[in-house]
Amino acid sequence: MHRRHHSSHDVVLETKGLTKIFGGLTAVNEVDLKVHKHEILSLIGPNGAGKTTVFNVVSGIYKPEAGKVIFNGKDITGRKPHRIVASGIARTFQNIRLFPDMTCLENVMAGQHCRGTAGLFPSIFKTPAQRREERRIRETAERRLGQVNLGRVRDELARNIAYGSQRMLEIARALASNPDLLVLDEPSSGLNPRETEDLMVFLKALIEEDDVTILLIEHDMNVVMGISDWVVVLDGGRKIAEGLPEDIYSNDQVIEAYLGKDDEEEEAHGAAAEH
């Protein structure tokens, strides 16, 4: 297995022996992950492999039964989701979760919430500090909205914009918190090939422009192969392989996990792309 060109001190996110149990089902079983700075790490695996559960534990929605989540050197295991966002991890959801009856701009402003401090009385009396902060929140949100090319729909309700735009809006909202780590759950799902292409270019550029690191769940093998620096494969809650995309692509164990033994490689692509 190839080594990545990073030294160990620039690890952004690390999970150690992460385990999450639902009733009798071990959804995530002692998973170790290391995400390095400025890297795009893809988490892949068949349905039910535990990928989204890993995301939910990392972002604080679930508490793990065992193991640790270490972010920028700090143990954030079991912290509340809003505190995890404040510490610098922002996420999106597999089934887009926007605030449908609010405008696109308001949606993106949500990301800036944790960077504001105005309390009840400053908000009621609109103190100068509160006005400045509101202005900054709005400017950041508008910039993020522009970054995903949605400036023109800023005042539209989120429910009314196209599906592909909703995906990008969710990413803009996550970016609005100025995160160090962006956690994207199947960002290309439901996008057409052209939108997917744009997304890949966008994410690549983001690493440079915004000093972020990206952790990704992805089913589209073209995306995985196209942009990942490192790929981790989960199956049945366990990590079964990790490596460079091209190595994973031809890894027998991975193909087996997706399709069972002795299947054609072409089908492997097809099945993977379908999800």
């Binding site: 308001e106 949500a110 504001g116």
Partner: protein, 333 residues
């Protein structure tokens, strides 16, 4: 320029300052033109408007079902009644105290249960409202006077110079409070707190995952809503000079619920329309008084079917935010 960009989104209130001024002027002139009877109707319109605004924070902004809001109203009214009759504390001083009492009560009761979702929380609020009413009837520590209530509540006054003892003064007292509340709530709507409430209403999981501490904000909504209801209770108590448990039944909570749903969740003009409907309708249609509940019920059903956003739904978009790109750069849109 804005108009050219999105004419359909222009706020009615902003585009029609004349209409708004006429309304405000009419409100000021109104009590000088009509009899005390009609002034009192407008007074109760004001009480319901304040109660509607208070429930609107919880139900409209955050989307939490609260069918026990009359409980907070009762706490405000009884705090005023008891402290005024037993200790002679002036009514006006008791306004913030009543608000704090109701708010503190909401904080204590809802802290442990605020994580409950939808109908589960609804059941808690329902129970809370009834427990408060039953407690008042049972006359704990000989404070609440049982079913008869507390009477002999003073007029609001500042020393001896100003005594609020006529219908017209009460009318201005309640509408001044409603007016101030509207101004404050309007700023809140366009602040990070108001948005956080709306994010929670729209999708609580997404709100949490975007850095909103939903627990604190839900609790804040209850505390603030209870505080406003407590103020309404204060004014109600000094207007009637007597408070008794029968004024704070489940039916009152239902009326507040109707106000918000009929008017439009999260919409301040909507709440005023809803409150007008609830308080003026029974007066105008006296002969149909028997059918009041039937009519309110039907109105709610029809509203849900044909106009789920309410009579005057809150408008979003260009109204709330003027673009920085358009060079206005002001947050107080």
């Amino acid at each position: 320029m804005e108009q050219a960009l999105s004419p359909e989104k222009k706020s009615f209130l902003k585009s029609q300052p004349l209409v708004v001024s006429v309304f405000v002027a009419a409100f000021i002139v109104y009590p000088f033109l009509v009899s005390d009877y009609f002034i009192d109707i407008a007074f109760f319109f004001g009480i319901y408007a304040l109660l509607g605004l208070s429930l609107n924070i919880v139900l409209g902004e955050v989307g939490l079902f609260d069918l026990g809001h009359a409980g907070f109203y009762a706490i405000g009214a009884y705090t005023t009644a008891i402290l005024n009759t037993k200790f002679g504390i002036p009514i006006l001083v008791l306004i913030p105290i009543s608000a704090l009492a109701a708010a503190l009560f909401a904080y204590i009761v809802f802290s442990p249960v605020i994580h409950l979702q939808g109908d589960y929380l609804l059941i808690v609020t329902l129970g809370m409202g009834e427990i408060i009413r039953q407690a008042l009837i049972n006359n704990p520590f000989d404070l609440t006077g049982g079913p008869n209530g507390v009477f002999g509540i003073d007029f609001p006054k500042i020393g001896e110079y100003f005594v609020c003892d006529s219908s017209i003064e009460y009318y201005f007292l309640i509408w001044a409070i409603v007016g101030l509340s509207i101004v404050g709530l309007k700023s809140l709507q366009n602040s990070r707190i108001g948005r956080a409430w709306n994010y929670i209403r729209e999708d609580e999981v997404a709100a949490n995952a975007n850095g909103i501490d939903s627990r604190s904000y839900k609790l804040l909504a209850f505390v603030l809503g209870a505080g406003l209801a407590g103020i309404a209770g204060n004014v109600y108590a000094c207007k009637l000079m007597v408070v008794s448990p029968e004024s704070f039944t489940f039916w009152e909570s239902c009326l507040m619920f109707c106000i918000v749903l009929i008017g439009g969740m999260g919409s301040i003009p909507g709440v005023l329309i809803g409150a007008a409907f609830i308080s003026l309708f029974p007066e105008i249609f006296r002969p149909f008084a028997m059918y009041r509940m039937l009519i309110f019920g039907s109105a709610m059903i029809l509203m849900m079917m044909f106009r789920p956003g309410g009579a005057w739904p809150r408008k979003r978009g260009a109204v709330a935010f003027r673009s920085l790109l358009e060079g206005t750069g002001r947050t107080d849109a």
